[in-house]
């Protein structure tokens, strides 16, 4: 009997996973989790920028805009 690759999705009647895409979401959708490695434009209107916070030492007072008068 030929074995069919299904990315470990063994439930009867469950949809087969396309190769190269891992199911992550709770709803079982085919989804890519965004990480720092995705930095840059991932669609024409979506951009990924990884953040690595650097401590401000000593902490500095936040400059806040005064509330508008009236």
């Amino acid at each position: 009997m030929a074995l069919e690759h299904n990315n470990g999705n063994d439930q009867a009647g469950a949809p087969k996973e396309p190769r190269g895409i891992q199911p992550h979401g709770e709803a079982g959708r085919h989804e890519h989790i965004i990480t720092a490695a995705d930095a840059g434009w991932i669609t024409p209107t979506a951009f990924v920028l990884p953040v690595k916070f650097v401590p401000v030492d000593p902490p500095r007072l936040v400059k806040r805009k005064p509330p508008a008068a009236g």
């Binding site: 396309p18 669609t43 979506a46 920028l49 990884p50 916070f53 401000v56 936040v62």
Partner: protein, 146 residues
């Protein structure tokens, strides 16, 4: 008397982008079929057994529009107990291709170093000007009275 503020020496005013959504979550995924974003487990507070604490990796998701051209982008982590900036990240820049395009911005955050229990604020700034903020609470996991 003529108004000297219109003598041409001031930099032209560039409007800031409008922020329509700013959410902090555990992770952001993009649907391989539709290209739509999925936000997983929106985070309003973090619990730790001891402080200072390091958060697990997080992700910030933004929807922005009405930006014009290029902006210098930065982010701050603020301790609201004394209204100080305790951590900062300077990015290079972000370019808005068209003014009326709604842009989505995903910022995977390595971790947040939180010195003590309390309320913190994450702020995103364009050209040094604050565009949006979001609170996050750091809680003591040992329960009240400990």
């Amino acid at each position: 008397m003529p108004d000297s503020s219109f003598d041409g020496k001031l930099a032209p005013y560039k409007p800031l982008p409008q922020c329509k959504a700013f959410l902090i979550c555990e992770r952001v995924g993009v649907d391989a079929v539709t290209g739509q974003f999925n936000l997983h487990r929106i985070v309003n507070f973090l619990s730790f057994q001891q402080f200072p604490a390091e958060s697990p990796p997080l992700a910030a998701y933004f929807q922005l529009y009405d930006g014009i051209g290029q902006y210098d982008l930065s982010m701050e982590l603020r301790d609201l107990a004394d209204d100080t900036s305790v951590a900062a990240e300077i990015f290079s820049h972000l370019d808005f291709p068209e003014r009326l395009v709604k842009m989505e911005l995903v910022l995977p955050i390595d971790s947040l170093r939180l010195p003590r229990v309390g309320r913190y604020e994450i702020a995103i700034l364009f050209d040094g000007r604050e565009v949006a903020t979001q609170f996050i609470d750091a809680e003591d996991d040992n329960g009240p009275g400990t």
